[in-house]
Protein backbone atom coordinates (compact mmCIF):
# COMPACT_ATOMS: atom_id res chain seq x y z
CA UNK A 1 0.00 0.00 0.00
CA UNK A 2 1.23 3.42 -0.83
CA UNK A 3 2.21 5.55 2.09
CA UNK A 4 -0.80 7.37 3.50
CA UNK A 5 -0.34 10.93 4.55
CA UNK A 6 -1.82 10.77 8.05
CA UNK A 7 -0.77 14.19 9.25
CA UNK A 8 -4.29 15.61 9.72
CA UNK A 9 -6.03 12.86 11.64
CA UNK A 10 -7.27 15.26 14.32
CA UNK A 11 -9.03 17.35 11.68
CA UNK A 12 -10.90 14.27 10.52
CA UNK A 13 -11.73 13.46 14.14
CA UNK A 14 -13.06 16.97 14.80
CA UNK A 15 -15.09 16.74 11.62
CA UNK A 16 -16.74 13.58 12.87
CA UNK A 17 -17.41 15.14 16.27
CA UNK A 18 -19.07 18.19 14.73
CA UNK A 19 -21.20 16.17 12.36
CA UNK A 20 -22.30 13.83 15.13
CA UNK A 21 -23.27 16.74 17.36
CA UNK A 22 -25.37 18.16 14.51
CA UNK A 23 -26.97 14.78 14.12
CA UNK A 24 -28.06 14.62 17.76
CA UNK A 25 -29.25 18.23 17.72
CA UNK A 26 -31.43 17.38 14.75
CA UNK A 27 -32.84 14.41 16.65
CA UNK A 28 -33.79 16.67 19.57
CA UNK A 29 -35.50 19.23 17.31
CA UNK A 30 -37.29 16.40 15.57
CA UNK A 31 -38.82 15.18 18.80
CA UNK A 32 -39.80 18.64 20.11
CA UNK A 33 -43.11 18.64 18.23
CA UNK A 34 -44.29 15.42 19.79
CA UNK A 35 -43.26 16.43 23.31
CA UNK A 36 -44.93 19.85 23.11
CA UNK A 37 -48.17 18.41 21.82
CA UNK A 38 -48.39 15.76 24.51
CA UNK A 39 -47.74 18.28 27.28
CA UNK A 40 -50.29 20.76 25.96
CA UNK A 41 -52.89 18.03 25.56
CA UNK A 42 -52.49 16.80 29.10
CA UNK A 43 -52.75 20.37 30.42
CA UNK A 44 -55.95 20.97 28.48
CA UNK A 45 -57.47 17.67 29.54
CA UNK A 46 -56.88 18.22 33.24
CA UNK A 47 -60.20 19.55 34.61
CA UNK A 48 -58.80 21.80 37.35
CA UNK A 49 -61.61 24.36 37.26
CA UNK A 50 -64.30 21.69 37.08
CA UNK A 51 -63.01 19.91 40.17
CA UNK A 52 -62.64 23.17 42.11
CA UNK A 53 -66.14 24.23 41.14
CA UNK A 54 -67.78 20.94 42.03
CA UNK A 55 -65.93 20.89 45.38
CA UNK A 56 -67.23 24.38 46.09
CA UNK A 57 -70.84 23.57 45.30
CA UNK A 58 -70.70 20.32 47.28
CA UNK A 59 -69.28 22.24 50.24
CA UNK A 60 -72.22 24.62 50.00
CA UNK A 61 -74.76 21.84 49.68
CA UNK A 62 -73.60 20.20 52.91
CA UNK A 63 -75.20 23.05 54.85
CA UNK A 64 -78.65 22.32 53.36
CA UNK A 65 -80.84 20.23 55.72
CA UNK A 66 -82.18 16.76 55.00
CA UNK A 67 -85.13 16.59 52.67
CA UNK A 68 -83.97 19.52 50.48
CA UNK A 69 -80.40 18.30 50.06
CA UNK A 70 -81.62 15.24 48.17
CA UNK A 71 -82.92 17.49 45.37
CA UNK A 72 -79.61 19.36 45.22
CA UNK A 73 -77.69 16.07 45.24
CA UNK A 74 -79.74 14.81 42.30
CA UNK A 75 -79.20 18.14 40.47
CA UNK A 76 -75.42 17.98 40.85
CA UNK A 77 -74.98 14.34 39.88
CA UNK A 78 -77.36 14.40 36.90
CA UNK A 79 -76.14 17.71 35.45
CA UNK A 80 -72.50 16.65 35.88
CA UNK A 81 -73.18 13.52 33.93
CA UNK A 82 -75.19 15.27 31.21
CA UNK A 83 -73.31 18.53 30.69
CA UNK A 84 -69.79 17.84 31.99
CA UNK A 85 -69.47 14.13 31.10
CA UNK A 86 -68.26 13.49 34.62
CA UNK A 87 -69.45 11.04 37.23
CA UNK A 88 -69.81 12.95 40.49
CA UNK A 89 -70.85 11.42 43.76
CA UNK A 90 -70.67 12.67 47.33
CA UNK A 91 -72.00 11.94 50.77
CA UNK A 92 -71.73 13.58 54.11
CA UNK A 93 -72.56 12.49 57.64
CA UNK A 94 -72.10 13.92 61.09
CA UNK A 95 -70.38 12.00 63.84
CA UNK A 96 -69.43 13.45 67.25
CA UNK A 97 -70.11 17.03 66.12
CA UNK A 98 -67.85 16.63 63.11
CA UNK A 99 -69.16 16.63 59.54
CA UNK A 100 -67.36 14.19 57.28
CA UNK A 101 -67.59 14.56 53.52
CA UNK A 102 -66.57 12.25 50.71
CA UNK A 103 -66.27 13.55 47.14
CA UNK A 104 -65.72 11.43 44.06
CA UNK A 105 -65.13 12.86 40.59
CA UNK A 106 -64.30 10.91 37.44
CA UNK A 107 -64.44 12.13 33.86
CA UNK A 108 -62.69 9.03 32.49
CA UNK A 109 -59.41 10.90 32.03
CA UNK A 110 -59.00 12.31 35.53
CA UNK A 111 -60.14 10.75 38.77
CA UNK A 112 -60.39 12.74 41.98
CA UNK A 113 -61.37 11.45 45.40
CA UNK A 114 -61.50 13.39 48.60
CA UNK A 115 -62.31 12.53 52.18
CA UNK A 116 -62.55 15.55 54.40
CA UNK A 117 -64.14 16.87 57.53
CA UNK A 118 -65.27 20.13 59.11
CA UNK A 119 -65.98 20.75 62.78
Amino acid sequence: MARLNDDAQWIVLMGFLVSFSFFFLALVINQATVVGQTTAESVIEFPKNDIRDVRHVIGESVRIPYPENVTVYNDITLLSMNRKSAVVDYRNFTLDNTTYIQIHYNNEVTEYNEYNWTP
Binding site: A2, S19, D75
Partner: protein
Protein backbone atom coordinates in the same frame (compact mmCIF):
# COMPACT_ATOMS: atom_id res chain seq x y z
CA UNK B 1 -0.72 -4.01 -6.85
CA UNK B 2 -1.19 -0.80 -8.77
CA UNK B 3 0.04 2.22 -6.97
CA UNK B 4 -2.44 5.08 -6.36
CA UNK B 5 -4.96 3.21 -4.19
CA UNK B 6 -4.08 5.20 -1.12
CA UNK B 7 -7.39 7.08 -1.10
CA UNK B 8 -9.59 4.18 -0.01
CA UNK B 9 -9.82 5.32 3.58
CA UNK B 10 -10.62 8.86 2.47
CA UNK B 11 -13.40 7.56 0.23
CA UNK B 12 -14.98 5.58 3.06
CA UNK B 13 -14.73 8.61 5.33
CA UNK B 14 -16.32 10.76 2.67
CA UNK B 15 -19.23 8.34 2.35
CA UNK B 16 -19.70 8.26 6.13
CA UNK B 17 -19.70 12.06 6.38
CA UNK B 18 -22.13 12.38 3.48
CA UNK B 19 -24.48 9.86 5.07
CA UNK B 20 -24.48 11.70 8.39
CA UNK B 21 -25.14 15.06 6.70
CA UNK B 22 -28.00 13.68 4.60
CA UNK B 23 -29.68 12.06 7.61
CA UNK B 24 -29.26 15.28 9.61
CA UNK B 25 -30.82 17.34 6.82
CA UNK B 26 -33.69 14.86 6.59
CA UNK B 27 -34.37 15.09 10.34
CA UNK B 28 -34.30 18.91 10.30
CA UNK B 29 -36.65 19.16 7.33
CA UNK B 30 -38.92 16.55 8.86
CA UNK B 31 -39.30 18.53 12.09
CA UNK B 32 -41.49 21.18 10.32
CA UNK B 33 -41.32 23.81 13.08
CA UNK B 34 -40.67 24.13 16.78
CA UNK B 35 -43.97 26.02 17.26
CA UNK B 36 -45.83 22.91 18.23
CA UNK B 37 -49.34 21.98 17.29
CA UNK B 38 -50.29 22.01 20.96
CA UNK B 39 -49.42 25.70 21.32
CA UNK B 40 -52.47 26.77 19.35
CA UNK B 41 -54.69 25.59 22.20
CA UNK B 42 -53.10 28.06 24.61
CA UNK B 43 -55.38 30.81 23.27
CA UNK B 44 -58.39 28.64 24.02
CA UNK B 45 -57.16 27.91 27.52
CA UNK B 46 -56.67 31.62 28.23
CA UNK B 47 -60.18 32.44 27.04
CA UNK B 48 -61.64 29.62 29.13
CA UNK B 49 -59.72 30.76 32.21
CA UNK B 50 -60.97 34.32 31.68
CA UNK B 51 -64.58 33.17 31.42
CA UNK B 52 -64.27 30.91 34.47
CA UNK B 53 -62.75 33.75 36.50
CA UNK B 54 -65.50 36.16 35.46
CA UNK B 55 -68.18 33.66 36.49
CA UNK B 56 -66.41 33.03 39.78
CA UNK B 57 -66.35 36.76 40.54
CA UNK B 58 -70.04 37.02 39.72
CA UNK B 59 -70.75 34.14 42.11
CA UNK B 60 -68.99 35.89 44.99
CA UNK B 61 -71.46 37.60 47.36
CA UNK B 62 -70.66 41.05 48.75
CA UNK B 63 -71.37 39.78 52.27
CA UNK B 64 -72.11 36.43 53.83
CA UNK B 65 -75.84 37.03 54.41
CA UNK B 66 -76.86 37.88 50.83
CA UNK B 67 -76.85 35.65 47.76
CA UNK B 68 -74.24 36.19 45.07
CA UNK B 69 -75.09 38.42 42.07
CA UNK B 70 -75.11 35.36 39.83
CA UNK B 71 -77.58 33.52 42.10
CA UNK B 72 -79.81 36.63 42.20
CA UNK B 73 -79.70 36.97 38.42
CA UNK B 74 -80.87 33.37 37.98
CA UNK B 75 -83.51 33.75 40.68
CA UNK B 76 -85.11 36.92 39.35
CA UNK B 77 -84.90 36.36 35.60
CA UNK B 78 -88.26 35.10 34.32
CA UNK B 79 -88.00 32.01 32.13
CA UNK B 80 -87.29 32.91 28.52
CA UNK B 81 -86.09 36.44 29.31
CA UNK B 82 -82.62 37.89 28.85
CA UNK B 83 -80.90 39.47 31.81
CA UNK B 84 -79.22 42.83 31.21
CA UNK B 85 -77.35 42.77 34.56
CA UNK B 86 -75.57 39.54 33.63
CA UNK B 87 -74.55 41.01 30.30
CA UNK B 88 -73.20 44.23 31.86
CA UNK B 89 -71.30 42.44 34.65
CA UNK B 90 -69.85 39.75 32.44
CA UNK B 91 -68.71 42.22 29.78
CA UNK B 92 -67.09 44.37 32.45
CA UNK B 93 -65.25 41.44 34.01
CA UNK B 94 -63.98 40.13 30.67
CA UNK B 95 -62.87 43.66 29.64
CA UNK B 96 -65.27 43.84 26.72
CA UNK B 97 -66.60 47.13 28.05
CA UNK B 98 -65.38 49.50 30.70
CA UNK B 99 -62.12 51.39 31.13
CA UNK B 100 -58.85 49.95 29.98
CA UNK B 101 -57.86 47.74 27.07
CA UNK B 102 -60.91 46.37 25.28
CA UNK B 103 -61.20 42.72 24.26
CA UNK B 104 -63.30 41.60 21.30
CA UNK B 105 -64.94 38.73 23.16
CA UNK B 106 -68.49 37.62 22.47
CA UNK B 107 -70.49 35.33 24.73
CA UNK B 108 -73.66 33.32 24.99
CA UNK B 109 -74.84 32.40 28.48
CA UNK B 110 -77.36 29.78 29.56
CA UNK B 111 -78.25 27.92 32.72
CA UNK B 112 -79.23 24.31 32.90
CA UNK B 113 -81.79 22.75 35.20
CA UNK B 114 -82.86 19.28 36.11
CA UNK B 115 -86.61 18.68 35.95
CA UNK B 116 -87.40 17.12 39.26
CA UNK B 117 -89.49 13.98 38.97
CA UNK B 118 -88.64 13.05 35.36
CA UNK B 119 -84.87 13.74 35.57
CA UNK B 120 -84.69 15.54 32.24
CA UNK B 121 -82.48 18.50 31.34
CA UNK B 122 -83.78 21.94 30.38
CA UNK B 123 -81.63 24.78 29.07
CA UNK B 124 -82.72 28.36 29.77
CA UNK B 125 -81.11 31.34 28.01
CA UNK B 126 -79.64 33.98 30.31
CA UNK B 127 -77.81 36.61 28.26
CA UNK B 128 -75.91 36.93 25.02
CA UNK B 129 -73.81 39.57 23.29
CA UNK B 130 -74.36 38.14 19.82
CA UNK B 131 -76.26 35.27 18.23
CA UNK B 132 -74.37 32.05 17.67
CA UNK B 133 -74.26 31.09 14.02
CA UNK B 134 -72.40 27.83 14.54
CA UNK B 135 -69.24 28.88 12.75
CA UNK B 136 -67.56 30.36 15.81
CA UNK B 137 -64.66 28.71 17.55
CA UNK B 138 -66.09 28.68 21.06
CA UNK B 139 -64.81 27.57 24.43
CA UNK B 140 -67.04 26.73 27.38
CA UNK B 141 -66.83 28.08 30.92
CA UNK B 142 -69.17 26.70 33.58
CA UNK B 143 -70.15 27.50 37.15
CA UNK B 144 -72.29 25.67 39.67
CA UNK B 145 -74.76 27.86 41.52
CA UNK B 146 -77.12 26.97 44.34
CA UNK B 147 -80.22 29.15 44.31
CA UNK B 148 -82.50 29.32 47.30
CA UNK B 149 -85.69 29.83 45.28
CA UNK B 150 -87.89 27.56 43.25
CA UNK B 151 -86.40 28.03 39.79
CA UNK B 152 -86.44 25.62 36.85
CA UNK B 153 -90.27 25.81 36.72
CA UNK B 154 -90.42 23.41 39.66
CA UNK B 155 -91.69 23.93 43.18
CA UNK B 156 -88.68 22.36 44.89
CA UNK B 157 -86.04 24.53 46.51
CA UNK B 158 -83.13 25.08 46.88
CA UNK B 159 -81.75 23.98 43.56
CA UNK B 160 -78.30 23.51 42.03
CA UNK B 161 -78.08 24.80 38.47
CA UNK B 162 -75.16 24.84 36.06
CA UNK B 163 -74.37 28.15 34.36
CA UNK B 164 -72.72 27.65 30.99
CA UNK B 165 -71.09 30.42 28.99
CA UNK B 166 -69.83 29.94 25.46
CA UNK B 167 -67.07 32.44 24.66
CA UNK B 168 -65.40 33.27 21.39
CA UNK B 169 -63.26 35.98 19.89
CA UNK B 170 -64.31 37.89 16.82
Amino acid sequence: MVSGDGGQLYTIEGFAAALIMIITAYLVVNATSVYTAGDTHINDMQLEALGTDALKMMDTPVSSDVPSPLAEIITYTPVGNMNATFKTMFMNYTNVSGAGPIHDIQFNATYICRKDPENSITIYPLASSRNLTGGEHTVRATKWVIVDKAVCEDSEKPRAVLVEVLLWRD
